[in-house]
Symmetry: C2
Subunit: 267 residues, 2 copies
């Protein structure tokens, strides 16, 4: 048993959707969250830069007493997880492998699809995770960077968004796909338009819930579960803490007290 907080980081506030899932699955756990809003977005950056950012984020969460780390950012999971695991002495879980396992549950006979940032797609991390779990299954990936900007702008239900989705998703619309992995924390907010464009035949898989279940399993195995008691939650960002009040609830599903600002370059 361990009542220290679970550390969660993301490139911004989208990772709060993972916090929401963790609250559901692990209601007794305290959480310390870091959203790297000052260096958002990660999806267009190069691998070396993403790895440096990820290391600093983990160091900050460790300074806040984190007992384990959830990398809620797909791009950071894709590029930095192996290095973080090999160089740091703290349990670390990412969103990629849980997302692949969740998608495989929906598989009948067809392929899996992935939509994600350019960085995540270029990393081929999802393909590698699938290859390790079930090498017989094929996957097709499309980078959909405009989806991030559309969600940030709050345009999740406009006609323009539908046209952009039709263009991006064309490849997945031929009947040969069983499941589409939403490989970015922003994309679950686009579920209605994705459903409209893809029809009912393709399962839309959000890695957040699968990641929360994988986190519970990992904490349990290492005897790190909090047990009882009242959890406390703290939120930190590297820029514009005032946006937390307006954008946070979109992902968290509830309002929450403000976030504190951190000088992340010092970690």
């Amino acid at each position: 048993m361990n009542t220290q907080p679970l550390g969660v980081f993301d490139s911004g506030l989208g990772g709060l959707s993972v916090v929401r899932a963790l609250w559901e699955v692990l209601p007794a756990e305290s959480i310390v969250y870091f959203g790297d809003t000052g260096r958002f977005p990660y999806g267009t950056r190069s691998p070396g830069v993403i790895r440096r950012f990820a290391r600093q984020n983990v160091h900050f969460l460790q300074s806040q007493g984190a007992k384990a780390i959830v990398v809620a950012c797909n791009t950071a999971s894709a590029h930095a997880l192996p290095e973080l695991r090999s160089t740091l002495d703290i349990p670390i879980i990412g969103v990629v492998e849980p997302g692949v396992r969740a998608a495989l549950k929906h598989r009948k006979s067809g392929r899996l699809g992935l939509i994600a940032t350019a960085g995540t797609v270029a990393s081929r991390a999802y393909e590698q995770a699938l290859e390790a779990i079930d090498p017989g299954v094929a996957m097709s990936s499309v980078a959909t960077p405009l989806f991030v900007a559309l969600v940030e702008e709050g345009w999740t239900h406009t006609e323009a968004t539908r046209l952009i989705a039709e263009e991006y998703l064309r490849v997945f619309n031929n009947g040969s796909f069983d499941a589409l992995i939403l490989g970015c924390t922003h994309f679950p907010l686009l579920r209605p338009v994705l459903r409209e464009v893809l029809g009912a035949g393709v399962a839309l898989v959000d890695g957040a819930e699968a990641t929360a279940h994988a986190t519970r399993e990992m904490l349990s195995k290492r005897d790190l579960l909090a047990g009882g008691g009242e959890p406390t939650h703290r939120f930190f960002v590297s820029d514009a803490p005032e946006k937390f009040a307006t954008i946070g609830p979109l992902f968290l599903g509830r309002t929450f007290d403000g976030a504190e600002q951190v000088s992340i370059e010092e970690y």
Copy 2:
């Protein structure tokens, strides 16, 4: 006369459109360009962070021998110009005031419009510049963050882009606007769709050319013009130098040798 280079910086590669205008207006000047691709975009960041980035960018350009600085980034011009001018001993010119002066040339009896990033609009820098030059003229501003993402994605001519432009530009479509300032280096690439949505009655004003003319005037006044000789041009970025080869020509209007990478946090 002074053959040292002119320093130009932007949050990314969009500022290369200013370099293109400088080549036209000041063909003898050598240029050293810094694109802060590792910390792009500036438009969503807070003023203190933007000012810190701008100081580092100028320090880097000074380390490369710059005799004067052109701030090609609207967001940095809007937030950092007064501080840079008051704390640094090098001539500095931004894109805001030249853009306002260029727009006023198109004015008949109506208002001026501005489209820009959220950061530039929130700064009210264009309104303040207009107030200082001609306080009798009114201006309306709209933040159009999706335009940046659409240009980065190369989607400058799609139906979705037209719908997004219609939504953003609705306020400018009532016949009372003489000119619309394109207050972000990416927006000139959207001229065709902006023209289609706004009709022929509204002048589309790009600050790049006006900034180049203002730069010539400033260099001439301080006796800093290069005179004759063959200019040399160097390009630096803080991440992903390979993108310079593909995105650079969009803004530069020609291909150019690669860019070098800089660790900008060290300046």
